[in-house]
């Protein structure tokens, strides 16, 4: 690691050569566009010259938060996004943890399951969206037939088409796909726990339940935080699945609208709505602020949490 040079050389050109390509691409394609997009949220398009923009301060934000027509849409998307996130936290991550804790007991057969359970995670949202759209379609009737096997056929509804159920259905489909990520991360954390620790607890008379919650869970807490942060960032940045399943209008009646689809609609325009670049930039800036808050909370929490080294 220690590579301090004893003899001072004139200028470490090799460092420039090594770092410059990555830094230049990263700064030009990510950092500057991000700042550019944040800046644009304080401007509005010049009605006389489409290529010009005029500085308007926080006017766009005010409009987003308080406009009679637009504010309900924005807050609706924000609220839906929170529901979307909560369903992931309450369904995806606990099931992922459960699968991981079952998987980590070892054995050949479990390696097979590990491979199988990760399959949905490697597919694209587009495929997953259409696959589930077909399965839930009342025209095909596959899900109704399956419910009939359990005598529950009467429960079938066109879930994606109903305002009350569309968001939950989309969230659960996203959970179905993404569950492999928390599963693998928890699995990695669990198998890293030395056997001696759990054996010691077992000798002391703890049962499996106690061992899990009193010994293992505190040890994998850093991973729990990481998974929560990743879920938060991924969810407030989500777009593909809703766009594929419900279209850019995030129907029925905006009931599945989240920040990503709202941004897309605003920025590019949709049907009667004219494209509005600066308002789109404002929504992206809001996404940035929300995600940044999540990341900062995570980093503060992470600093305070003890990470155990085995």
């Amino acid at each position: 690691m220690n590579a301090t040079r004893k003899v001072r050389k004139p200028f470490p050109w090799h460092l420039v050569v090594f770092i410059a390509p990555a830094l230049i691409i990263y700064v030009i394609v990510m950092v500057i566009p991000l700042l550019d997009s944040l800046t644009l949220s304080f401007f509005t398009e010049d009605p006389n010259n489409a290529r010009n923009t005029i500085f308007v301060g926080i006017q766009n934000y005010k409009y987003l938060f308080t406009d009679k027509y637009y504010a309900p849409i924005f807050w609706g998307a924000f609220k839906n996004n929170i529901v979307f996130f909560l369903i992931h936290m309450l369904v995806q991550n606990p099931i992922g943890l459960l699968l991981a804790s079952v998987l980590c007991k070892g054995g050949k057969i479990r390696n097979f399951f590990r491979t199988v359970l990760f399959i949905p995670t490697i597919l694209s949202f587009v495929l997953v969206g259409f696959v589930w759209k077909l399965i839930l379609s009342p025209v095909w009737g596959v899900s109704k037939t399956i419910l009939n096997i359990f005598g529950l056929g009467g429960l079938f509804r066109p879930w994606l088409g109903l305002e009350e159920t569309a968001l939950i259905t989309c969230s659960l489909i996203s959970v179905w796909q993404y569950i492999g990520t928390p599963m693998i991360l928890f699995y990695t954390a669990l198998i890293a726990i030395p056997d001696e620790l759990t054996e010691a607890a077992y000798v002391d008379g703890a049962n499996a339940w106690q061992i899990f919650w009193r010994v293992k869970f505190p040890l994998i807490l850093p991973t729990v935080g990481l998974v929560a942060m990743m879920t938060f960032v991924g969810n407030f940045n989500a777009f593909d699945l809703i766009y594929t399943m419900q279209g850019a209008l995030a129907g029925p009646n905006l009931s599945t609208d989240i920040m990503g689809t709202l941004f897309y609609r605003t920025f590019f325009g949709q049907q009667q709505q004219m494209p509005n670049q600066t308002l789109g930039a404002t929504i992206a800036a809001m996404q940035f602020i929300i995600i940044l808050i999540g990341v900062v909370i995570y980093m503060i929490w992470q600093k305070r949490t003890t990470t155990y080294e085995y």
Binding site: M30, I95, T145, A284
Partner: protein, 292 residues
């Protein structure tokens, strides 16, 4: 054996037997249950893609037989959509952006982890922000940039963005691998008069496993991405598999054979790729995470 278990044994009732059976079989049952949930949707798409329209609706759960077998869906897809083009575009974009990412990420992480210089920590920090802040949030700026460079509707625009997208994570993981290379090795090379560039080149083979893992993990989000093709290169000539499938599916939603066939064509390649590399993939996550 714990006290509670002993108490239960005394009872030795039927309910105890059921509980103990569930305790040993439960985990496996749960894994089987979830595997069915994970695989069923894929199964039902794959089997129905090879059936005629009647059979799709009449016997959706059966595998195709001589009577129900049909390739009509694939014929429609071949006639109406240029999937060969989409695949070529996806492969070009993925391979080129991965190759460049790996090259410049190894260079940067080598410099950041093996040399001490002013600003190394700051640079690492700047790159690591990109791991947590998704590049999509810069969409407005990136689109303006690509319009300025007249790069919209080119594969190059996608390649540039995917490099920027994959770089932070690649640098982060590679740095932890670079740090593990013994200093004696580098010192020895230096004594032999090797230049810094030569030392970098010499180190590359040593971190090959990490390169493989990063390659696979950066590949999946690039291959599956809908956002950037939709925004930067939506034309028919530059459509990737994901975008091509999305547009085709939206247009032909009522042609069940074609929809199922196009889904199958998009799923199969990534599924095969995964099954070949799954062992290496999962191994690399588990071992990589333990190390860092």
């Amino acid at each position: 054996m714990t006290a509670t278990e002993l108490n239960k044994k005394k009872g030795a009732s039927v309910s105890y037997r059921i509980i103990s059976w569930l305790r040993s079989a439960g985990p496996i049952l749960f894994l089987i249950f979830w595997s069915i949930i994970a695989l069923f949707p894929i199964y039902i798409i794959l089997v129905n893609a090879f059936k005629n329209r009647n059979a799709i609706f009449k016997y959706p759960f059966n595998i195709p037989n001589a009577e129900t077998f049909s390739l009509i869906g694939f014929e429609t897809v071949n006639k109406r959509a240029n999937f060969a083009r989409y695949f070529t575009n996806s492969i070009v974009v993925t391979v080129v952006s991965l190759a460049i990412t790996l090259l410049i990420a190894t260079m940067a992480s080598f410099a950041l982890s093996r040399y001490k210089f002013k600003g190394a920590t700051l640079l690492s920090l700047i790159f690591s922000i990109g791991i947590m802040i998704p590049i999509r949030l810069a969409t407005v700026g990136i689109l303006r940039l690509m319009v300025n460079w007249s790069l919209t509707n080119t594969l190059l625009s996608l390649i540039i963005v995917y490099i920027a997208q994959s770089l932070p994570m690649a640098i982060f993981i590679l740095s932890s691998f670079m740090k593990q290379i013994p200093q004696e090795l580098i010192d020895a090379a230096r004594v032999d008069g090797a230049s810094e560039y030569r030392i970098y080149w010499m180190i590359l083979p040593l971190i090959r496993p990490a390169l493989g893992a990063i390659g696979i993990f950066s590949m999946i989000p690039i291959w599956n991405d809908l956002w950037w093709p939709l925004i930067l290169a939506p034309s028919a000539e530059t459509a990737t598999v994901t975008l091509g499938a999305q547009q085709f599916l939206g247009q032909y939603m009522t042609d069940w054979n074609a929809v199922l066939a196009s889904l199958t064509m998009s799923i199969i390649p990534i599924l095969i790729f995964y099954l070949i590399f799954s062992k290496q993939m999962i191994k690399s996550i588990t071992s990589g995470a333990i190390k860092s």
